[in-house]
Symmetry: C2
Subunit: 321 residues, 2 copies
């Protein structure tokens, strides 16, 4: 039996840190979706979280545990996605500075949002530079603390608060599904869910082209893949983090995949019927249920909609397709 990087108590403590800081996001239901699937579905709307994604939970929980020396020098993160904005906002709220490494071709809207939250953006060339090496160098030179986007116990504990909140709001769930990129969300939520209801089936969902997590889950060791081609940009990670994987092996029941076409159909359903904008990666878990990748009839099913950050013109183009 492996030693796990966090325990449920870390999630409970993270809940206290995030209380009245993170949004207590709403849980939505849809009679139409229930009828389509023959079950009772609950959608946890982390697209309505601060910075538009669950990532705020983990970033804030990590920086909130900085020592006063760490707070004086600040935090470094590398991300072209939601962890960037989450780190910048959490740092500002906690009175410390943030340096965010972003690829020089990152969408202007994400760069602007990160700067808007007070982050100092440093660009790197994604084809020639090693962002980890640059991040470590900046952190060392300025005595700053690097917070990775998923392979960190405080980040995982922060993401786990989502599942605890979800269970407290809707009661015990029979099944819980989350999207999977590096595994921070799935692992934190799996630990929380299995602690609150050991009978709950916890399932991660990936894009079909980027099923490194499924391969790792089945083989029992972390599988590394080339950057997958998928519209789910938050799940274009090449492998699970070691810490998330240790928890996933222990607590996750299955890993499923969905196609980009299924993601787009789900995005249309969530927009058209439920009036919410969910980014492609945020649709993964819902897509697995709506596309019947799993039999969930007569069960209470929790679905995590993990984020809503998508360029509006891109969103418009996808729902027109």
């Amino acid at each position: 039996m492996s030693v796990l990087p966090i325990h449920f108590n870390d999630i409970a403590e993270a809940c206290h840190r995030l209380k009245d800081i993170a949004h207590h996001t709403p849980v939505m239901t849809s009679v139409t979706a229930d009828r389509m699937t023959g079950t009772k579905l609950f959608f946890k709307c982390e697209n309505l979280q601060r910075v538009g994604a669950f990532k705020f939970r983990g970033a804030y929980n990590a920086i909130a545990q900085f020592s006063s020396a760490q707070l004086k020098t600040g935090v470094v993160a590398f991300s072209s996605g939601n962890h960037a904005q989450a780190t910048a906002l959490a740092a500002r709220m906690l009175g410390t500075k943030s340096v965010i490494l972003m690829p020089s071709d990152a969408p202007q809207i994400k760069v602007a949002a990160t700067k808007g939250y007070g982050g100092e953006v440093v660009f790197y060339n994604r084809y020639t530079d090693d962002r980890e090496a640059i991040g470590m160098r900046i952190a060392q030179e300025h005595s700053m603390t690097l917070i990775p986007s998923y392979n960190h116990p405080h980040v995982i504990a922060g993401q786990g608060t989502l599942a605890k909140e979800f269970f407290e709001d809707v009661g015990v769930l029979d099944v819980l599904l989350t999207p999977v990129g590096g595994g921070g969300l799935l692992s934190g939520c799996a630990l929380a869910a299995k602690t609150l209801n050991p009978q709950c089936r916890v399932i991660g969902v990936e894009p079909e082209t980027g099923n490194d997590g499924q391969q790792s889950f089945r083989s029992g060791k972390i599988v590394h893949i080339d950057t997958p081609a998928t519209i789910a940009d938050g799940a274009q990670t090449q492998q699970l983090g070691e810490m998330p994987f240790a928890i996933i092996r222990e607590y996750v029941d299955d890993m499923l995949t969905v196609t980009d076409a299924e993601i787009i159909e789900t995005m249309k359903f969530l927009a058209g019927r439920m009036k919410i904008i969910v980014e492609p990666t945020g649709c993964l878990a819902a897509a697995a249920v709506l596309a019947r990748k799993i039999n969930v009839s007569s069960k209470t099913v929790g679905i995590v909609l993990s984020g809503g950050n998508i360029d509006l013109l891109r969103f418009a183009a996808l729902i027109q397709g």
Copy 2:
């Protein structure tokens, strides 16, 4: 002093009827919107209500008060918009039948949604037929009860539950703004708001081209206009209802207008920053604040986002514009 069609107690009773029936819709906030306006804004998300609009509150509250004889014969409504779907769903939930009169050129998606909720749809020609006459004839021939979309005390009381819920969730507001079509939403909310906080300024917002309510408010008598050209289809009413107007004269502080361009900018902001889909009419109140039609600095401001029913392709086209 005129006799008002309803009193606050009718709203309180409607709250009991709607408890665990209507969604208790979330209230959202936005740091960005607060910074843009120098105030603290609260958005009541009725686009996330059942059938995608506040109309469910009024329709259900009306049908829930039917006698057993009325329930046996059913309800008639005429609407090309959200009242149609609201009446169909509320009727089904209360075990009675509904006949919904819709124009023969109504969007297919709205016809399908109304039928999906169990409504029997009867078409009329909007250029040659008198829908009120047809509705009355159907109601009389089949001893059914006609429920108008705003000029009815039980409908107004139902819509007022929105403001009561809003105040209970966020505390006392200094200003409350709602969209205005026939006046059911504004009047119900004004009565609730002024009862809970007599100092609250209550403001209705219309499209600039369809400012019949503003004209009526200023002149003290109901002004009738030609059907206005505006993207806010729910505010294309030609005049306020008599019952709403009696309450509006008593309790509303001002009526503002916004342009279609301001509505579209607001729709983009709500989608891009807050990740929610709000139909043009649903954006009216938010547009007045974001376009600075009112000075709200250093106040707590409640904004009703009244609905989210817009065809996805139309939505995509508007946010691309």
